[in-house]
C-alpha cells in the first residue's frame, strides 16, 4: 500500500510539471497586460514599460519560467502583481470558505442522495422510483443560479430566516454563524450532486441487487434493511464513491457562480478576479493547487476502493 501511494505520488510529478508549463505558456500567449491594468487609463507607453520592468514582465519568457519554477521548488508561489501580497497568503485567505462549503455541501448531498438512490432501486419501477428520478432530472436541468435566487427570495428576503449573502468562518465564529450563512449556498451547490449521486446509487444498486449473494442474504433471513445497506450498498459503493470524490474536487474548483451569488470570498472568485486582472502568479498558483487537489482526491478514491471491496489489492 505504501509503495503504491509513493508510486502514485511520484507519477503526479510529471503531470504537475506539464500543467505548470502549459499554464505558464498559455497565460503569456493570451492577450492582456498586467502593467496596463495596474497603470490605468492615463498611462503612457513609457510608464507601462517601466512597470513591466519593475514586475519582471519584460524578461524573456524562459527566464521568467525558470525563476518562477525555482521559487516553486522552495515552496513559494510568488507574489500577486496587483496587491503585492504573497500568493500563498491570498490562497490561504480563500481556502477555508471554499473547502468548508464543499464539505458541508457534499455531506448534505450524500445524506440526501444515497437514501434516495437506494429507495429508488429498492422500489424499482414504482411511482417512488419515477418521482425520485424526475426530481433528479430537475436537479440536473435547473441552473444553479436560478435555484440560488429562488432560495434567497423565499428563505432570506420573504421569510427573513437566513442572510442573503456573506460568509462566516467556522474557525473564527463557530458553528451557528457558519451554518446560518452556508446553508443556502450548500443547498444550491448540492442540488446537482444530489441528482447525480442519487442516479448513480440507483444504477449501481440495481446492478448488484440481482447478484447471487443478495439472494443468499435473503435466503439466510437477513432483514431488507441489512440486505440493502450492508450487502448491496457496500458492493455498489465504488462508482458512488468515484462520483462523490470527483464531485468534491469539482466543488472546490468550480464554485464560482455560488460564490458570486452568495458573496462568498472563496477560491472561485479569487480565480476569476486573477484571470480578469491577468495576475499571472495568482492564476498559476491556483491552477497548480487545484490540479494537486484533483491528483490527491483521485489517489484517495483509489485507496478507498479497498475499504469497500476487499478483493482489490494495490501493487
Amino acid at each position: 500500500m505504501l509503495g503504491y501511494c509513493l508510486k502514485r505520488t511520484l507519477a503526479a510529478v510529471p503531470v504537475m510539471v506539464i500543467v505548470a508549463l502549459f499554464v505558464f505558456l498559455l497565460l503569456r500567449l493570451s492577450p492582456g497586460d498586467p502593467a496596463a491594468i495596474i497603470a490605468g487609463d492615463m498611462a503612457t507607453p513609457d510608464q507601462l514599460a517601466r512597470i513591466r520592468e519593475a514586475l519582471g514582465l519584460n524578461e524573456p519568457m524562459h527566464i521568467q519560467f525558470f525563476r518562477w519554477s525555482g521559487e516553486l521548488l522552495q515552496g513559494n508561489f510568488g507574489t500577486s502583481l496587483m496587491s503585492g501580497m504573497s500568493v500563498t497568503t491570498l490562497m490561504a485567505q480563500r481556502l477555508e470558505p471554499t473547502v468548508s462549503l464543499a464539505i458541508f455541501s457534499m455531506l448534505l448531498s450524500v445524506l440526501v442522495a444515497v437514501p434516495m438512490g437506494v429507495l429508488a432501486a429498492w422500489k424499482h419501477g414504482s411511482l417512488i422510483d419515477r418521482a425520485i428520478m424526475s426530481l433528479s432530472v430537475i436537479g440536473f436541468s435547473v441552473p444553479v443560479f436560478v435555484i440560488g435566487y429562488l432560495l434567497i427570495k423565499l428563505l432570506a428576503i420573504d421569510l427573513g430566516w437566513l442572510p442573503v449573502q456573506g460568509f462566516r468562518r467556522l474557525s473564527e465564529e463557530g458553528p451557528w454563524p457558519f451554518l446560518e450563512h452556508a446553508l443556502l449556498p450548500a443547498i444550491m451547490l448540492s442540488t446537482i450532486y444530489i441528482a447525480l449521486i442519487a442516479r448513480m446509487t440507483r444504477a449501481s444498486m440495481l446492478d448488484v441487487l440481482g447478484e447471487d449473494y443478495i439472494r443468499t442474504a435473503h435466503a439466510k433471513g437477513a432483514s431488507e434493511k441489512r440486505v440493502l445497506f450492508r450487502h448491496a450498498l457496500r458492493n455498489a459503493g465504488v462508482p458512488i464513491l468515484e462520483v462523490i470524490g470527483t464531485g468534491f474536487a469539482l466543488m472546490i474548483t468550480g464554485v464560482v457562480v455560488t460564490e458570486s451569488v452568495f458573496n462568498i470570498p472563496g477560491l472561485g472568485r479569487l480565480t476569476v478576479d486573477a484571470i480578469l486582472s491577468r495576475d499571472y502568479p495568482v492564476i498559476q498558483g491556483l491552477i497548480l493547487v487545484t490540479s494537486g487537489v484533483y491528483v490527491l482526491i483521485n489517489l484517495l478514491i483509489d485507496l478507498s476502493y479497498a475499504l469497500l471491496d476487499p478483493r482489490i489489492r494495490y501493487q
Binding site: 491594468i37 510608464q47 500577486s80 427573513g160 442573503v164 449573502q165 458553528p175
Partner: protein, 539 residues
Amino acid sequence: MKPLKGLQKGAQGAACALMASAMVSAMPLLATPVQAETVRAVMHSGLRVLDPVATTAHITRDHGYMIFDTLLAMDEKFQPRPQMADWSVSDDGMVYTFTLRDGLKWHDGSDVTASDVVASFQRWAARDGGGQMLMDHVAGIEATDAQTVTLTLSSAFAYVLELMAKPSSIPLFIMPARIADKSPDEMLSVEDQIGSGPFRFVAGDYDPGNRVVYEKFEDYVPRDEPASWLAGGKVVNVDRVEWINMSDAQTALNALNTGEIDFLEAPSVDLLPILQANADIVVDNPNELGSQTMGRLNFLYPPFDNPDIRRAALMALNQTDVLASLVGNPEYYSTCPSMYGCSTPLATDAGAPALLTGKGDVAAAQQLLKDAGYDGTPVVMMQPTDSPTVSPQPVIAAQLMRRAGFTVDLQPMDWQTLVTRRASQQPPDQGGWNMFFTNWALPEVWNPLVNPMLNGRGRDGGWFGWPQDEALEEMREAFARAETDEARKDIAERLQVHAFEQVTYIPLGEYKTPSAWRSDLTGILHAPLPVFWNLSRSR
C-alpha cells in the same frame, strides 16, 4: 433575522465534521470593537492595487482619500483650498510657500514633516500627467524647515494650486518620506498603507478584491471649515468602515434591502425601482458631476488619419442614441456638447456640432465620406463585452456608422484585452485598432490640462489614438499660463473649437451613477467620489 431554531439542534454534529476543514486556514481572530459603529459599503469595484500613485483606478483613488490626506483640496466651486497646509504666493507668482498646520500625525504616531511633503510631491509628479506638466515649470521644491515647503517655478505657470488640489486622476496624496521615497514604478505594499488621513487601514483584515477595513484615526484633527467636496473639515463620526466587494449586482441589492450593508455606491440603474420601493433606502446622486462617455479614433492609420473621415464619424454618431442604450433612464443621463462637461466652469458649446446632441446627420456623413474618397477600409472597433458601462456604446456606434457608409469590424473582447490592445501602435490588421470607447469622471476632463484626450503630443507622450497636433499643444500651454478666469475660458473655447474641427475625440454625453444607502445614514457628502467622513448613523 429569525434564526432557524430546528436547524440549530442538528448543527452540532455537522459542525464537528466541518471543524476539520476550518483548520486549513488558521486565520487570526480579529476582534471588532464592541458597540463599534460600523458602516458596511459595497463600492463600484474591489480594491486590488493599494498604491494611488501607481494606478489611475478610481477604487484605488477612493482608498487613497480614506487613509491619506492631501496638501490642498478642491471645493465644490472647483477652487483649491488649504487641507494639510495653507499657502502664500510671491508677488511675481514664481514662489509658492506651503505651511503645514499643527498637529498632523501619521497613523504610526510620528509627526508629519515638510520633507514628507517633498518626497510625496516628487513621487506624484513622476507619474501624474498634471504633475509632469507642472514639473516642466518647476525649478525646485524643498523643505525649508520642518513645517514649510517652498516650490519655486522656473517659468510662469498659473495652474499650480489647481493641479495640486485636483481630485483625479492621481491626487497629490501626502505619505511618509520613507514610503514616498520608493520608486513610482514600485508598488506600495500592505505595510506601506500609513497615511495621516481620517481613517486608518486595518492591514490584518485586508482581503484583496473582497474586503477592506478602515478604522477611525483618533488622532486626526479636522479643519474647522465645513466640509465642501474634498475640502474642509473631515469629521469622522463612525468607528469603522468596511468595503465589501460583491461581484453580483443582485446580491448587493438584496444585501442593502435586508440591511446587511449600509451603502451601495453604484447600483445598476435597471434595478433602482426595487430600491426606491423600500422606504428604508435613500437613492440619490452624491456625485452630482457624473461621468462623460466618449469615443476615440486612432490618428495613425486609415481611415481616421484623414480628418474628413474623422468628421464623417462625428456626423454619423449622436449622443441621444448612445446614452439611451447605455443608461436607459433619461433621469440619469443628458446630452452635452462640451468636452469639459456641462456642469463645470469651462462648459461651452463652442465648435460642437448641434447634430451631436440630436440625432446625427447620416446624409451629411455619407456625402463627406464620398467626398473624402473613403475606400471601405474597415474600422476596427473594439467592444468590451464584460463591462456594462462600456459595452453598449460600440454596438450603437457601429450601427450608426454602418448606416453612414462605414465598413465596421466590431471585435468583441474583454476589457483587459482592450486596455492592452489600445496601447498597440501597430496597424489595425496587425493587432492595432481604429476606434474604442471609454468613460471619464468629469473631474478628469474638466479642463484642457487634466483632460488626457486633449493632448496633441502624438506617438510619444500622447494618449491612445496619438493625435500629433501642435496647435492643440500651444493652446494648452497658453491655458496653463493664463492668469485670469476670462482668459482661461477664452482659450478653452478656442481649444474646443479646434478639437471638434480635428475630431480629437467624440464626447458622447454625460450620465450619473446614483448611489443608495440605508436611511439611517445621514450627512453623506456631495463630492466627486464617495467619502465616509461627515456621515453619521441616526438612532
